[in-house]
């Protein structure tokens, strides 16, 4: 209510800027970052809560007078070197910001250091930044580790468990590996120079293909030698690849940044440095068998390739071709004979048939002619009959003529008197004296002359 009433009053001195809530929160937050950047803040941890689903951590940092909300995101809190607990006195490295959703002031924590180590930590951060800017931690500088080194250099304490762990892992994985140990102090005042010297020694003598530098876990002070510039530089300068294996997984030293590989523990270093040779051995055996199998398969494939065509029809076809040729030959050769034979027989038959037809017509004609000629005697028959008939008739007529002869009466003594003209004289009066007469008797006749006329008509 009051704020609403207040707003209603005109501003006496200057006109307030009206902005949205988000704009205000944003601008306030920006102002905070500009004012403070990253700061260390000391206080006591209370209301600690590790939010599991997100992995972020939330707590309140307080002293006698004030308190402030803290958030540490998962990516940062994973690197915490120790577990945070209720009531712990710590220095947090953080950026003061405002949580936009609530407009709440808070610290975004990137690192937490126990209260007493705050100075060391800041020194660590400063050196890290300087060397980092110098490029010592460039990924490009990092050398790759040999796949399967024959010799491994080890820079660590001769007494610690770290060496034992490392050696046992290495020899278990690669029994044929030679481990060259350069024992050094790993804490105390002498530690850093010794470590640096040992690293350089390996760099100079090249008796190992890779060097492991490390020790077991401990407090930040215990591990401090590995944060010393001299050690970091020795590692960074080594032409022989260096593997760092310092403390536990959560302990990060500058040596780790400079090394070509950071192993979380000495045992892990042993695992990284040599391969599991048993597997290689198995692999080689396997490869050998594959080789033998493959070469045999190739050989068999060739054999199959050589035999497959042989089994194909093409080769059998030679036989079929030969058979076909044989068959064609047999058919053609076989057909020839009967054809010629038939042909000859046909011609012969034709000739014989024609020849047989030749004689009959001629014989028939000849016989016909003979037959007709055979009728020739009939010529005589007709003639002789006619001749006979004429002859007989003539005789007969002669007979009859003779019988009818007027002279037959003369046989009885009569005579026929004819005048000179041959006329039968039937009347004496038809004659004159001295007329010549002919008197015909039955046999013979005489010539006579009229001497006297006795006219009977007058009688």
């Amino acid at each position: 209510m009051n704020r609403a009433a207040g707003l209603g009053h005109p501003a006496p001195a200057e006109t307030p800027v009206v902005m949205s809530v988000s704009e205000l929160v944003f601008r306030a937050s920006s102002a905070l970052v500009a004012e403070f950047g990253t700061v260390g803040v000391e206080g006591e941890v209370s209301s600690f809560h590790h939010h599991r689903p997100s992995g972020h951590m939330y707590w309140t940092l307080k002293d006698r007078a004030s308190e402030v909300r803290c958030v540490m995101f998962r990516l940062d809190n994973e690197r915490l070197a120790f577990p945070l607990e209720e009531g712990m006195h710590v220095v947090v490295v953080a950026r003061p910001t405002i949580y936009r959703a609530r407009g709440q002031f808070q610290l975004e924590v990137t690192q937490v250091v126990p209260r007493g180590l705050g100075a060391l930590y800041l020194q660590f951060e400063a050196l890290k930044r300087r060397l980092g800017e110098e490029g010592l931690f460039d990924p490009a500088r990092k050398r790759s580790l040999p796949f399967w080194p024959v010799s491994i250099g080890v820079v660590t304490s001769a007494e610690g468990a770290a060496l034992r762990d490392m050696v046992s892992v290495v020899l278990r994985r690669a029994p044929a590996t030679r481990i060259l140990l350069k024992p050094v102090a790993v804490q105390g005042r002498e530690a850093a120079p010794e470590i640096a010297r040992a690293v350089r020694w390996f760099a100079r003598h090249r008796v190992a293909e890779v060097v492991i530098v490390g020790r077991g876990g401990g407090s930040l002070e215990d591990l401090w030698a590995f944060n010393e510039e001299i050690v970091v530089r020795a590692i960074a300068d080594s032409p022989v690849p260096v593997v760092s294996a310092v403390g536990h997984e959560t302990d990060t030293t500058l040596a780790d940044y400079a090394a070509d590989l950071r192993a979380p523990t000495p045992s892990a270093a042993g695992e990284h440095v040599v391969p599991e040779t048993r597997e290689i051995a198995r692999g080689v055996v396997h490869q050998f068998r594959r080789l033998a199998r493959a070469v045999e398969r190739q050989r068999l494939r060739r054999l199959e390739e050589a035999l497959a065509p042989i089994r194909r029809y093409g080769f059998r076809r030679v036989r079929d071709r030969a058979h076909e040729a044989r068959q064609r030959w047999a058919e053609a050769a076989g057909d020839m004979g009967p054809v010629v034979r038939r042909r000859m027989a046909a011609e012969r038959a034709r000739m014989e048939e024609a020849a047989a037809g030749l004689s009959a017509p001629v014989a028939g004609r000849l016989a016909g002619a003979e037959r007709t000629l055979g009728r020739a005697p009939e010529l005589g028959r007709g003639l002789s009959r006619r001749h006979e008939r004429v002859h007989v008739r003539a005789r007969h007529l002669e007979e009859r003529l003779r019988a009818a002869s007027p002279y037959s009466i003369l046989e009885r003594g009569y005579a026929v008197v004819t005048d000179v003209r041959g006329h039968v004289v039937q009347r004496a009066g038809a004659l004159a004296e001295d007329d010549d007469l002919a008197i015909r008797f039955a046999r013979g006749s005489v010539a006579a002359r009229v001497t006297r006329i006795e006219d009977e008509e007058e009688r």
């Binding site: 020739a376 002789s384 001749h387 004429v390 009859r400 003529l401 002869s405 007027p406 041959g422």
Partner: protein, 97 residues
Amino acid sequence: MTQIPIDVPEGDEPGSRVPAAPDAAATPVEEQLRRLEAIVQKLESEAVSLDESIALFEEGVELAVAVRRRLEVSEGRIKRIVERSEGLFSLEDFDLE
């Protein structure tokens, strides 16, 4: 000799008179025989005067003689033909010889 027209008795045809004897040589024997027969028949009938019958008879005799002569000639011819027939016929076939 005068030709006396003779009625041929057998002839059915009304005009079948015995034809006047042509030239003997040219007349077939058969015609001569026919005339002869006509003459004989005429002679055999009563209706002929002696004078006629004598004339007919004379003619008949002449004819008969001519026929006989011609038959002789014919036979001679046949004989010659038969002799030339190279054995095809013999004279017996014709009651000749």
